[in-house]
Symmetry: C6
Subunit: 71 residues, 6 copies
């Protein structure tokens, strides 16, 4: 996967872009069982950056995400 | 794996497309032990998006799927 | 790994093709500890599809397989 | 992903470069549940090298990172 | 990683080839904690096939191997 | 990631080469929670080979490493 290839035509990428625009609170379940919650600041090829309810910025590696859903 | 390469000739991709058409309820077992259930809305190179019985949309990363089977 | 590259000259791919032909019952141990058992219907670049003793079709992601052996 | 491709235009890469400059203490949660804390010395395609409070240098594989946030 | 690229110049590939020649019994520790033991029949890009003390052939996915050492 | 690409200009690769030269004892924490200790014999694209205090050679898959630090 070429590092810079970030295919904005993919439904999964577009879905995250939409959630960024709508400032939706999203719940993230990770492969290690952790559960995170927050609005998405940005996404790129490797990561998603969110801000949680304590206004803390958290950068999640996409490789560690099991699934997500909006609240 | 080129990001945009989504090979619809693959049996595994075709199988998911078929389940989308038939609106089949599918059970997903993830690598972290989580079990999800729902009909598939769409799939792309990275993810599968399902709707569960509570009508909640959940996007699952394909990298986190161990196996699935229809109900 | 180009999505469509499915190298049937690889011993591991040929071994699965052979098990399909012989309709052998195979035990699959997954990275999350799950244990599945069944005959192989098909394999592709991403997945292996099996039918278990309850005649249920289960699609396993190859990325989630730790090891397998025939019964 | 070509080994030498290290795309400094990616927000996630730039974010880490910024944290290096600011000598920020960062908390790293790994996919195996481990929690590490320290300032970042350097990052490359595969790893992030930090120095913890005991002045010990620890090299973390990016593939093992679930998420991080500054303290 | 091109599917058919199997670089026999790599020390790790050569080491396994050597262990095959010497019919050495090797212990394999997997990422899910499983421990397997056996002589190596063959290796390819994706897998290593071993025969254990019960003369059972087991195919291990290289992606699931944490480490190995000869007995 | 081309199999044979082993980019010795990467800080993480150079760091391991340095530890090999200095015959430093390194502690390796793996994604399955295992902890290994030993001097590094060699590294390649896929693996790191160490010798532990019992003079046993252990080959670790880089994909299974969470982090390491010298003793």
């Amino acid at each position: 996967m070429a590092t810079t290839e970030f295919d904005t035509s993919l439904p999964s990428i577009k879905q995250l872009q939409e959630l960024i625009k709508q400032k939706t609170v999203v719940e993230w379940k990770l492969v290690n069982g952790d559960l995170l919650k927050g609005k998405i600041c940005w996404q790129d090829h490797n990561c998603v950056c969110i801000v949680n309810e304590q206004n803390q910025q958290i950068t999640i590696w996409k490789q560690a995400i099991a699934y997500f859903h909006s609240q």
